[in-house]
């Protein structure tokens, strides 16, 4: 979503993005001409008249599980967004019985929060796991 019109979205997709992504952009390119939706999500820069790089992960219940906002010159890390979605999906599937510690990615062990885990996280999780 940006402040560009849907006509500009069409041209950007047809002229440039379709050269990067075969078949063009598969999802909806939204237009927020007046920045009203961006203001609602607190990512609209009223001085520059553009949206900043806000990214929101919304679960099937419509609940915001996470967000990240960057200033324009730095791009996002798509893999990190995917990792977060996978983590939120795992937690949801476990109905909250499992949690994903720092550095978790699919295949790595989760934690099962509860009285038995208090003071014993060190047995299950090592500092090195945050970095590998």
């Amino acid at each position: 979503m940006s402040v560009d019109s849907v006509f500009v979205h069409k041209m950007w997709n047809d002229v440039e993005l379709s050269k990067m992504v075969s078949g063009g952009i598969p999802f909806a390119m939204l237009s927020d001409a007046a920045g009203r939706v961006g203001s609602l999500y607190d990512v609209y820069d009223i001085d520059a008249g553009v949206e900043t790089r806000g990214r929101f992960i919304i679960d099937p219940d419509g609940i915001i599980q996470g967000y990240e906002v960057l200033t324009p010159p730095v791009g996002r890390n798509v893999m990190e967004s995917l990792r977060q979605i996978q983590a939120f999906q795992l937690v949801r599937q476990s109905k909250g019985t499992e949690a994903t510690p720092s550095g978790w990615k699919p295949g790595k062990p989760t934690l099962k929060p509860g009285p038995d885990l208090v003071g014993r996280v060190w047995e299950h999780w090592k500092t090195s796991m945050a970095f590998d």
């Binding site: 560009d4 849907v6 909806a28 939706v37 949206e51 990214r55 919304i58 419509g62 730095v74």
Partner: protein
């Protein structure tokens, strides 16, 4: 799902729908207005409902109107960016 829209010269605009739109309506007294705005800004929090909105969109060759809540039931990634044809 998204409904196709007629193309004209007018620039269609998106905006909030539902509760927060009602909150936006100015009430008597300037104070209230400011408080309303603060309320609107604090709407976006983790663990809270994503504020609903409608927005015009370009999707696979068609101009459509998208409503966020129509996608509830799936995982949604909502991305904002500064502008088309920018470099990053």
């Amino acid at each position: 799902m998204p409904e196709e829209m007629k193309v004209g010269c007018a620039r269609p605009m998106g905006g909030p729908v539902g509760e927060q739109q009602a909150e936006e309506q100015p009430e008597a007294g300037g104070e209230t207005g400011q408080e309303t705005r603060r309320e609107e800004r604090t709407m976006v929090k983790v663990g809270r409902k994503a504020p609903d909105f409608v927005a015009p969109a370009y999707h696979k060759g068609k101009f459509v109107t998208v409503k966020l809540s129509e996608y509830f039931g799936k995982w949604i990634v909502l991305c904002f960016y500064p502008g088309d044809f920018t470099f990053v």
